[in-house]
């Protein structure tokens, strides 16, 4: 259990000391992040020695703010999956040895991480996944295919969930592993999406040997590990709090103002739509602040899904309106040359952002499944009748 041992002022002064001792402008990024980790300012809620001070998770925002103001690096941007999802999972489920081995290089960006959950046959129903891991002495042998793997082509490590017991019901037959992405039998291929870019990968596992020491949590606890990761994913996708009027809505307003100068008659037709989107963006921002202020524990609850659902719809609507404001120019597209972006979800053109935004309500949990979660876990509505309940995984019908 983390106890609030320090307060916000102390957290801020520790961060100030960090940027004073290692001025970001003159310090290599990795050295800065290593020091940030060693001083417990990486994930302030983590235990001492694992990048934290055992403090209240909300103090991290104050620390990040000081570092950002001072021009310091952003560990999340460098290693988004590792920082936002794998680390919070490791700190909950890892052995002391695993935490000591992995958290520091993950935070400094020396070792990039990816998560290997989704499969072609297991999208919304991740717990139905089919990649197998069979025990072989002190090792496991993994076979199968993963998909939609962000950063896999640059990753040193992957958080893998595999089926270790096909005779158990689906949620109970899973186990988590820390997969060395350079191990023989791991093949990473780009997955081109409808924007023409390959932000994601397919990962093929063919007889990959994993030492039992790289198992995360107990055999059969894989689904619990997944839940820890996914709850953090929802926060890292839906819960970022930008300043008022920034981000996609700023692009929309800027384009609108340009149109108002060049073609006021057309702009006038869109004033209401732009104002409406601005209000939705601002209210989401306020709702995120509110949820973060009211949040108590370290692990976000299902309420995190609320922000994610709102953000997905808003982002789709903002970019759709942005391309609409472009008029005929919106018919054009820069290039469909197959490329790999350096940073995931980086903004380049309105048209690309518009196309990319379609995934917002699919990735990290479809809005439909999230509504089920909200209805069942927050509102307490009864679950759907399920065809896979109490059935051994191997007997569940699948496509």
């Amino acid at each position: 259990m983390s106890q609030p041992r320090i307060d916000e002022d102390e957290a801020r002064s520790l961060a100030r000391a960090l940027v004073a001792d290692l001025p970001p402008a003159r310090t290599p990024v990795r050295d800065f992040l290593a020091a940030q980790f060693d001083r417990g300012l990486a994930w302030i809620n983590h235990p001492p020695g694992h990048g934290g001070l055992g403090a209240d998770v909300r103090l991290q925002a104050a620390v990040n703010h000081v570092i950002k103001e001072a021009g310091g690096p952003d560990a999340f941007e460098i290693n988004p999956i590792g920082h936002g999802m794998c680390a919070p999972t490791l700190v909950v489920w890892g052995t002391e040895e695993q935490k000591r081995r992995h958290l520091r290089p993950l935070f400094t960006g020396e070792e990039i991480w990816c998560q290997l959950f989704s499969e072609p046959g297991a999208g919304s129903d991740v717990a139905g996944l089919a990649a197998r891991a069979r025990r072989d002495g002190a090792e496991w042998v993994a076979d199968g295919q993963k998909v939609w793997t962000t950063m896999a082509h640059r990753s040193s490590w992957g958080l893998l969930i595999a089926r270790t017991d096909p005779d158990a019901v689906k949620h109970q037959g899973l186990t988590a592993f820390l997969l060395d992405m350079s191990a023989p039998g791991v093949e990473v291929r780009p997955l081109y999406q409808l924007t023409g870019e390959a932000e994601f990968n397919e990962v093929f596992l063919d007889g990959v040997r994993i030492p039992d020491a790289a198992r995360l949590g107990r055999v059969g606890d894989g689904w619990k590990v997944v839940l820890t990761t996914l709850m953090n994913e929802r926060v890292s996708i839906g819960g970022v709090i930008p300043p008022r009027g920034s981000g996609p809505i700023a692009r929309l307003v800027e384009r609108y103002r340009e149109l108002a100068r060049t073609d006021p008659a057309t702009a006038r037709l869109h004033t209401g739509a732009v104002a409406d989107l601005w209000v939705r963006a601002e209210v989401l921002r306020l709702a995120n602040i509110r949820l973060s202020q009211l949040r108590t524990g370290d692990t976000p609850g299902p309420e995190g899904s609320i922000s994610k659902i709102i953000a997905a719809d808003l982002n789709k609507d903002v970019y759709s309106e942005l391309v609409t404001l472009m008029g005929a120019e919106g018919l054009l597209y820069e290039s469909y040359d197959k490329v790999r972006p350096v940073l995931a979800m980086e903004y380049s053109t309105p048209q690309k952002a518009f196309l990319r935004s379609r995934a917002n309500s699919i990735e990290g949990g479809t809005s439909e499944v999230m509504k089920n979660v909200l209805a069942e876990r927050v509102l307490g509505l009864p679950g759907d009748p399920r065809a896979d309940k109490d059935v051994p995984w191997r007997d569940i019908p699948r496509s």
């Binding site: 609108y256 004033t271 209000v279 989401l284 709702a287 209805a375 307490g380 009748p385």
Partner: protein, 375 residues
């Protein structure tokens, strides 16, 4: 840079919510609401007095020097949310929000004359601003105040959609004297004031047309334009909290019903068509809570940002409450369309609140102006 918004509640604020919730459960159950809906006045004077004696809520915004509680807009939000959840038939929005806010901007004499009576639950009050179709637009006021003897005025004109205008003991009327906008106190039994209650779609919230035919009035001092502006925005923020309270109650009713109503051998809440409707409402209400709390916080901490925050709250909370009230009827099916079921009471309140002091389209237009998006 504006100060940082704070959405957390203190223990005292949570306690206030608990106490009021208990009070309203006992004193404003659905049976009482239905009784008062059918009454001429629309509220029970004895209950209003009892609320003042027990909880002193009428003086929530009133400083202690006038006998009030001296609390802020966050507490106001807590109270409005509970009143909205219970559809409490009380002249709170008119007396303790609108009129009180106006009196707090007036000169000390007027405040000292009226606030103690309001705090004690002995005087109800309202503000008569709107004319014609009911838009809150001080610039368009045509009601005239003509100077008479002893610093008093005679007021002539017609005010429409005055909240609780038929029962208020004190009417604070906005009128023009030459080019100047004034706020004047008119006592209800003054000759020259005739009051015509409307038959309202939402029977739990009453409005009246007030005809002033040379009614004697005392100016309350202060800057009337500023006072009205503030009262408008504080009232919108308060209304938004009431809308949140109503919306949440609708969702609670819908969820409860969806869990217990069986069709096709299953609770209807296990169908995604119903489940997703409920989840959508949860999402809308969560956004509405943030918008409302921000407007309330702005009322205390960021006067400059208040007009935008209040308009955003009006837009967001109106849409959330209307949708919650409408979907609550839909989820209930046939029973939700009956007179005996309370769903229609919330639906009518939702539409009435949506239209009061400007619909979402009008407030979006105001937002466009404030953001300088208007071409």
């Amino acid at each position: 840079m504006s100060p940082t918004v704070d959405f957390t509640y203190t223990d005292e604020q949570l306690e206030l919510r608990g106490v009021l919730r208990k009070y309203l459960a006992a004193h404003s159950p659905e049976s009482v609401v239905r009784e008062l809906m059918d009454s001429a006045g629309g509220y029970d004077r004895a209950q209003w007095k009892d609320l003042a004696d027990q909880l002193g809520l009428q003086g929530l915004l009133v400083p202690e020097e006038y006998g009030g509680l001296g609390l802020g807009a966050t507490e106001l939000g807590v109270v409005m949310e509970e009143l909205g959840a219970h559809l409490a038939c009380l002249p709170f929005l008119s007396t303790s929000v609108l009129a009180t806010t106006v009196l707090l901007s007036a000169d000390g004499e007027a405040a000292a004359a009226w606030l103690p009576g309001i705090v004690a639950g002995e005087v109800t009050a309202t503000v008569a601003v709107t004319e014609g179709r009911g838009a809150w637009d001080p610039a368009a006021i045509t009601t005239e105040a003509v100077p008479a003897c002893g610093g008093r005025y005679l007021v002539t004109g017609v005010k429409t959609f005055v909240p609780d205008g038929h029962t208020a003991d004190l009417v604070l009327v906005a009128a023009r004297s030459g080019g100047e906008l004034l706020l004047l106190a008119v006592e209800a039994d003054t000759p020259g004031l005739s009051r015509h209650p409307h038959s309202t779609m939402d029977q739990t919230r009453r409005f009246a047309t007030l005809e002033f035919g040379g009614a004697p009035a005392t100016p309350i001092g202060g800057d009337a334009a500023k006072a009205l502006d503030r009262a408008h925005h504080v009232a919108l923020a308060a209304l938004s909290a009431e809308q949140v309270g109503g919306a949440q109650r609708c969702l609670d009713m819908a969820v409860e019903y969806a869990k217990n109503r069986f069709q096709f051998g299953r609770p209807i809440g296990s169908f995604q068509a119903i489940k997703h409707k409920c989840a959508d409402l949860l999402i809308l209400i969560e956004a509405a809570r943030a918008a409302s709390a921000f407007a309330l916080w702005s009322a205390d901490a960021d006067a400059e940002g208040l007009p935008l925050a209040a308009a955003m709250a009006k837009v967001t909370c109106s849409e959330a409450f209307f949708r919650a009230a409408a979907d609550n009827i839909q989820i209930h099916g046939g029973i939700g369309f009956t007179w005996e079921h309370p769903a229609h009471l919330y639906f009518k309140r939702a539409k009435s609140s949506e239209l009061l002091w400007g619909d979402p389209a009008l407030h979006r237009e105001r937002i466009s102006r404030l953001l300088e998006l208007t071409v």
